[in-house]
């Protein structure tokens, strides 16, 4: 039931004034009218715990999971602060410190009738990884036997925890949370790095510190080290048009509206500009948990993520992850191959290049092991004596 939508609808959320710390700009998203019948709860795992999530037979992937969320859902709109906003003490469970392998049968599953637990970015990462996980559907002779029978398994992508991002810890610590804040858009050196939305301000306050334990893309990690400071965006009021206190007050209101509109253009604009492929994962009551993939356009920024929306399509939960250029490129190649049933020649024609160049690009993207050794060797030998010519490198 995959659907294609144009971006994510952030209606119901208003951008508040940004707070800047070093190169990191945090823009709060305020929700005047919070969602009360969907509540989130962070379940913290030990930071050294390595967990293996089993999705399907033979496709276990290994990654570092700082925490997983439990969604609490009720139909009678229980009072907001009551349920789901407690943090559990990880030491209380008696788990030993150090590396421990925890097996979870599925990424998202019902714990009991009223609760939904899921591992947030893993869900999204899995969606990305599962893209063309099966490998070539037709046994073209160029692909290895391994690729045809076992797909791309194992696949591995890297991400950085927030604690590795320079200055993010301080930025989150000194951030002054607004009373009606339900989300956050995170910029590093003016690049949109992540967006995070929850249904209710109490949830946000509980989850704010966990932003430090989340996974972030490579770009965020590098930008935070490259750039020292982002400027404060201050609006200069036009004093020539002010003759009284009322005028000044009107200008303050106008400045606030201008900022919200400006931010909607930049942040939501970026998210809305691209075509997203949304796949529903689970449905519970009036809420749908789904994950989305970008169009993998190598020239634009690409975000993957997951959402919870209600029947009307109103956003209750959002979490995004910005792909690095290399990750985008890999996604792009796989999606193109899939569109042409993994036929090398047809794909090459569609990409306006030749078979050798495509092989070369697949090799550089880390998919060389999928092609038969003689084909990949011929490609490598062909490239070696001539050296690397910039004009011949294709679009990557």
């Amino acid at each position: 039931m995959t659907a294609t939508v144009d971006g994510i609808d952030l209606s119901g959320l208003v951008a508040g004034p940004a707070q800047t710390w070093g190169a990191i700009r945090l823009v709060p998203l305020l929700r005047p009218d919070p969602v009360t019948d969907l509540r989130l709860h962070a379940r913290l795992y030990g930071p050294d715990e390595l967990s293996i999530v089993r999705t399907r037979p033979r496709t276990a992937y290994v990654s570092f999971i700082p925490h997983a969320f439990v969604a609490t859902w009720s139909t009678d709109a229980t009072p907001a602060a009551a349920y789901g906003t407690q943090l559990r003490d990880p030491a209380g469970t008696g788990d030993p410190d150090g590396i421990r392998l925890a097996f979870r049968r599925r990424m998202a599953r019902r714990e009991d009738r009223r609760r939904l637990r899921f591992l947030p970015l893993h869900l999204a990462m899995e969606g990305y990884l599962a893209l063309q996980f099966g490998g070539p559907p037709i046994a073209w002779q160029e692909w290895t036997r391994q690729a045809v029978t076992r797909g791309l398994s194992p696949r591995l992508e890297t991400s950085y925890t927030g604690a590795d991002v320079t200055g993010l810890d301080d930025a989150l610590r000194v951030f002054e949370i607004h009373p009606d804040q339900c989300g956050m858009v995170l910029y590093v050196a003016e690049a949109l790095a992540a967006a995070f939305v929850v249904p209710h301000p109490d949830d946000y306050r509980a989850l704010h510190p966990t932003l430090l334990q989340d996974c972030y893309g490579e770009l965020l990690f590098h930008y935070s080290r490259l750039y020292e400071a982002a400027p404060d965006l201050t609006a200069r009021l036009d004093d020539t048009r002010i003759s009284g206190v009322a005028d000044l007050r009107a200008q303050l209101v106008q400045a606030r509206l201008d900022w919200a509109a400006f931010h909607d253009r930049t942040a939501a604009g970026l998210l809305a500009a691209q075509r997203l492929t949304v796949t529903p994962v689970q449905r519970m009551g009036r809420f749908t948990l789904s994950r989305f993939l970008p169009a993998f356009d190598p020239d634009a920024e690409n975000h993957i993520g997951e959402t919870i929306t209600d029947r009307a399509g109103r956003l209750a939960y959002l979490k995004t992850f910005r792909l690095s250029a290399a990750q985008t490129r890999r996604g792009y190649l796989l999606s193109r191959l899939a569109a042409h049933d993994w036929d090398l020649d047809a794909t090459a024609t569609a990409l306006r290049t030749d078979r050798r160049e495509l092989t070369h690009r697949l090799d550089r993207a880390g998919f060389g092991h999928l092609l038969r050794p003689d084909i990949i060797d011929a490609c490598r030998n062909h490239n070696r004596p001539r050296g690397r010519m910039p004009g011949k490198r294709g679009t990557s």
């Binding site: 508040g16 004034p17 940004a18 707070q19 800047t20 709060p28 000194v174 002054e176 949370i177 607004h178 009373p179 404060d232 965006l233 201050t234 609006a235 200069r236 009021l237 004093d239 002010i242 003759s243 009284g244 206190v245 000044l248 007050r249 303050l252 400045a255 606030r256 900022w259």
Partner: protein, 498 residues
């Protein structure tokens, strides 16, 4: 390097001085700024962790600022001892002056010597012993240092009491400055087990307390605490026994401990506590607790404010205060809710000082006693709310991190002063309790507004006097004269007291 706040033209800046327009040279302007910047820092900063920066950054920044001012304006650096500089910075200034005594001229040395001696007399003894210990550790042992230590110790009312309560400090000072101590004090400090019995009562009590639990309760709290531990006395029993010996500060500090151990003998007379300490204590209580003891706490805060205002009560006319209760007012682990407490204390003080007072918190509404640090710092709109009252004086108490939206307070104040109130009918003062390590100053709101560091709300009245210099509109010469007059007054007052 240290330029932070003012925009000045190469031709010099024009200052308004009682209607007379004068041109100040750029060098004088810079000097004026530097001194004000240093005074602000020396009043507000304690080199401890703040909300936005860590202790290391604060220490480094403050140390550099001290070096800079000491190197460039030595006489003004010494003169700041006569201002209400906080204890930490007083200690630093004394240390630095003694450390670099060689660089001073003879005339400077005379003034510095008198200033140091007078200022040390007003410091709490544990601070002074700390200074002496630091002098010993950094190997400063010139003749003047020894004379300062000798005179200060000689002026102490009871050397035997000091020997018990500040044993380590006094012994370090005695060794460092080669002091000759009266009678048994020397024996007690350096070889206390030799004598079987002391003639001085407090020394004898202290000796007995090593072997006998009963004597322990006649000693000062800090000394008895260690001995109680050695005797294995439980905390609850110790606290109820030592209660009569506690000083005011210790009483205030031990309230929560006493409650935890269910000791009800540590009563406290809230009426005698200083205003800011009282505000800190009030904010340390939970909100239901504050609501329950509302009458008692409010009464004590009012009384403390009246004491602090003294004869100035009711003389300030129409005053509006904008008080910052954003999340950053929570301070840090070592200065819990200090910025908020300063704002709360200022609220009660201004209520007494002003004839007509309005206090505006950023988020909080209702009884100010229940204020809680939460939310962003939207100073701009709140300042406009305050200015709408058309007050004679607007006092802003905030750490200056105006972030909702950033810089709006500066815009509002600029437009107010340029367009809506060009005659300056409203005096605007920004009091900032937090030192910003990055800019070597307290964080400013805008160019035209006087920003002053503040440590205790009780100093508000004295600080507002300095505000004229902080806007950059006063002369350097004038500042020098003002400081010289303050030094004179301070030395006279201290001379009379001694």
């Amino acid at each position: 390097m240290l330029r932070s706040s003012f925009h000045y033209s190469p031709a010099g800046i024009r200052g308004i001085d009682g209607g007379r327009v004068a041109v100040m040279s750029r060098a004088e302007q810079v000097a004026c700024e530097d001194v004000i910047m240093f005074v602000n820092a020396a009043i507000a900063s304690t080199a401890q962790r703040e909300f936005h920066s860590g202790a290391a950054a604060q220490r480094l920044s403050l140390g550099f600022l001290h070096e800079y001012v000491l190197g460039n304006y030595r006489d003004l650096y010494a003169a700041t001892l006569a201002l209400g500089v906080n204890h930490h910075n007083t200690a630093m200034i004394v240390l630095n002056l003694l450390r670099t005594a060689r660089e001073a001229t003879g005339e400077q040395r005379t003034v510095e010597g008198r200033l140091i001696a007078a200022r040390l007399r007003t410091l709490p003894p544990q601070r002074v012993y700390g200074v002496f210990d630091e002098l010993r550790r950094s190997g400063v042992n010139n003749r003047r240092t020894r004379a300062v230590i000798r005179d200060w110790v000689a002026a102490r009312p009871d050397p035997a009491f000091d020997a018990v309560k500040y044993r380590r400090g006094l012994s370090a000072a005695a060794r460092h400055a080669h002091l000759s101590l009266p009678g048994e004090v020397g024996t007690m400090l350096f070889d206390w087990r030799r004598v079987k019995r002391y003639e001085t009562p407090i020394l004898e009590t202290w000796r007995r307390a090593h072997y006998e639990q009963r004597s322990l309760y006649e000693l000062p709290y800090t000394v008895a605490e260690g001995l109680a531990r050695r005797h294995g006395i439980s905390r609850a029993r110790f606290l109820s026994g030592i209660a009569p010996q506690l000083t005011g500060g210790e009483r205030l500090r031990l309230q929560a401990t006493a409650e935890r151990h269910r000791v009800d003998r540590i009563g406290m007379d809230l009426a005698t506590a200083p205003l800011t300490r009282l505000a800190i204590y009030a904010l340390s209580l939970s909100r239901p607790e504050r609501a329950r003891r509302r009458d008692e706490l409010t009464g004590a805060l009012h009384a403390a404010a009246r004491r602090a205002a003294g004869r100035q009560a009711g003389t300030w006319g129409r005053v509006v205060a904008v008080l910052d209760d954003s999340y950053s007012a929570a301070g840090s682990g070592v200065k819990r809710r200090r910025p908020l407490a300063v704002a709360l204390a200022t609220h009660y003080l201004l209520e007494v000082l002003a004839a007509d007072y309005t206090g505006l918190w950023l988020h909080h509404r209702g009884d100010p006693l229940l204020v809680h640090p939460i939310g962003a710092t939207g100073l701009g709109e709140r300042i406009l709310d305050g200015l709408e009252h058309r007050p004679g004086r607007l006092v802003i108490v905030s750490d200056g991190w105006d972030n909702a939206p950033p810089g709006q307070a500066a815009e509002v104040l600029r437009i107010w002063q340029e367009r809506l109130d060009p005659g300056r009918a409203t005096t605007i003062v920004h009091l900032n309790p937090v030192y910003d390590a990055g800019t070597f100053d307290v964080r400013r709101l805008g160019a035209g507004v006087a920003t002053l560091g503040i440590r205790d709300a009780e100093d508000t009245a004295a600080l507002v006097e300095l505000a004229r210099f902080a806007t950059g509109s006063a002369h350097f010469g004038e500042l020098r004269r003002n400081l010289a007059a303050r030094v004179e007054r301070f030395l006279d007052a201290e001379g009379a007291a001694a």
